[in-house]
Assembly symmetry: C2
Homo-oligomer: 395 residues x 2
Amino acid sequence: MSPTGDGILFKTEEYAGRLAKLKSEMERREMDTLLISEPSNICYLTGYEAYSFYVFQIMIVHRDVSEPIWIGRSMDAVSVRRMTYLSDDSIRPYTDDYVQSSEKDPVDFVVAELKEICPTLKAIGVETGSFYYTARIHNRLLESLPANRFLDAELLINWMRIRKSAAEVAILREAGQISNAIIADAVEAVQAGIRECDLTSVIYRRMIAGTPEYGGVYPSSAPYVLTGSRTGEPHAPWSDRTIDHDTPVNIETSGCRRRYHAPISRTVYLGSPPESYLRLADAVTEGIEAALEAVRPGVTCGEVAQIWGKTIARHGFHKDSRIGYSIGIGFPPTWGERTASLRESDRTMLEPGMAFHMMPGLWLDDIGIVLTQSFVVNEFGREDLTTFPRQLVIK
Amino acid sequence: MSPTGDGILFKTEEYAGRLAKLKSEMERREMDTLLISEPSNICYLTGYEAYSFYVFQIMIVHRDVSEPIWIGRSMDAVSVRRMTYLSDDSIRPYTDDYVQSSEKDPVDFVVAELKEICPTLKAIGVETGSFYYTARIHNRLLESLPANRFLDAELLINWMRIRKSAAEVAILREAGQISNAIIADAVEAVQAGIRECDLTSVIYRRMIAGTPEYGGVYPSSAPYVLTGSRTGEPHAPWSDRTIDHDTPVNIETSGCRRRYHAPISRTVYLGSPPESYLRLADAVTEGIEAALEAVRPGVTCGEVAQIWGKTIARHGFHKDSRIGYSIGIGFPPTWGERTASLRESDRTMLEPGMAFHMMPGLWLDDIGIVLTQSFVVNEFGREDLTTFPRQLVIK
């Protein structure tokens, strides 16, 4: 990639390979046309990463048309031109009067383009579960195209993304270095008496500045900074409250590099933790180490989760929720890929190139501890994407 | 509100008034049940503001059931309990095995709850255009409930939100003070030779730390920091490139306080702008002042936009895109309310309590200038939410 974190991220051949693989999967499913709504999937196919998905945007892939076609707002076409390999004819912007208008609907624009560009429209895949493919968009398409031509292509590209190329792993490593730096800054800054928002501002500063080698961009989700009894609320926002003495501070965040994420979470305990809390920390530490040790090609996600479950059970603990998920490209509102989860019922078999954020946590009454690890599966086992020590930090 | 930016944001009576108004509008539309997917609308009705919308979450309002019912992930129920007035019986979490699972669908959980809780299910409103109401969710509901019972409730609550209460305006003012501080920090930090990501990190730091009185939270959209020819790409991310001499730097961002936004954009020109650029700045400045001067109750959004258009036309410029949108509560991916736009075709009549971000910008070949103003309409005209001088900054 460019040393300045700029320009087209991957070589043209890498994008060509992804597109060829997609078209081959479309052929297998007897799908001639695919409408891609998920920004992560558009980015995966073309490298496009502007924040233009908050208004209507879609990408068309047709098996008999060489390039993907981008449809979006006119003011964003110049970014598509710069960030991707697409030729001008594959960039089809709609005018601004389609934006959040009660009079004009950009889906009508898409239908007109589909009829012009696509040699056939026999079987049209749509990403039904994408945040950016709303019920309204689907209903409007059904007004112009027969319902029996639609196929559910939900997660089709997401599952292709689960195995990362060597070039993608290189970017994930850069994101991991930013994550290390964020946690180091947060551990240094956290102390009783400062406001939660001031601690969080330190996290954001490093997240975006990155390292001297690798600048950061916004991750797909806000960080979580939870103190005291709020550690029992995994997705609550921070506030203006000052941080207490003798309390855990849970931090969950991610460095992000060219939309690739390598999340990290750590708990910093301010003061001397009670014995019961230290036992909780021991259980989590032993559990994550055992689960990580099990990671290697051929093992399933479910087996990894079972090892976690059995290990903490020996300490008398139990956890219902999944302990991790596939990571890679992410756009708001989430950095997860929405495919494999590290949970007992998931039979996805680990393969080299798969990347996960293993994120176990345990709660005791209303206070908790988090300790996580992002990694890539390799032929020997795994490569950790972050190197910050895996332990409860006591300060 | 609580001085620590914590606790339930508004008085119970304010939430009760909003709910009563909603139920009355539902009655007018002959809708007995409403399924609310948009996090901003859930927040408006209850004050709930956790980042739990990246997995399935929905709120049910039934005209004959006193409280709204929250349905979401089990680990987030504790946040609903703390942040809202909802009683335990109105908090209906699903277990974690429903999350991003190929085996269990949380929509089935919703259907079971609907049948248990709602005395009637004759006419069910759904927010078809919400990012959080995907085609998949709608299709799954249609498998269990007859299609002819569904009504489109898209933007129903969004339009109720357009007129802010006095308590909401007070929070918007706090967000505006954070916006002032962000731009002041950015103007001080920007200089040739620093990386774009380092400038952006200064913006983020202040955005989150806020002011000594008012801490910030994450805004619903990343800031835009665009330099040189990138000022022609309104939604491109910043990069690791160092900022040049003799170039404009466009900054668009927003302070956010309890999910309320008061966005601000300014251009800082590093060096001596050429004459042509100064003429562009004059046109934008004169245009925004004329348009702001026109803001008062009884004038339409379209009339305000026309005044902008006529003013810049006298300078020989023309702009196709809208010059603003309604603001208030926002959740990712956008801080706009998706209702009224400041564009010539919009006939929404301004009323006291409406809030907008007026965001005109002009481009000359590939470099541009931005200069914006967030304001609330009041009985006399308007109140500006930010006070940073409205002019091109030359540094």
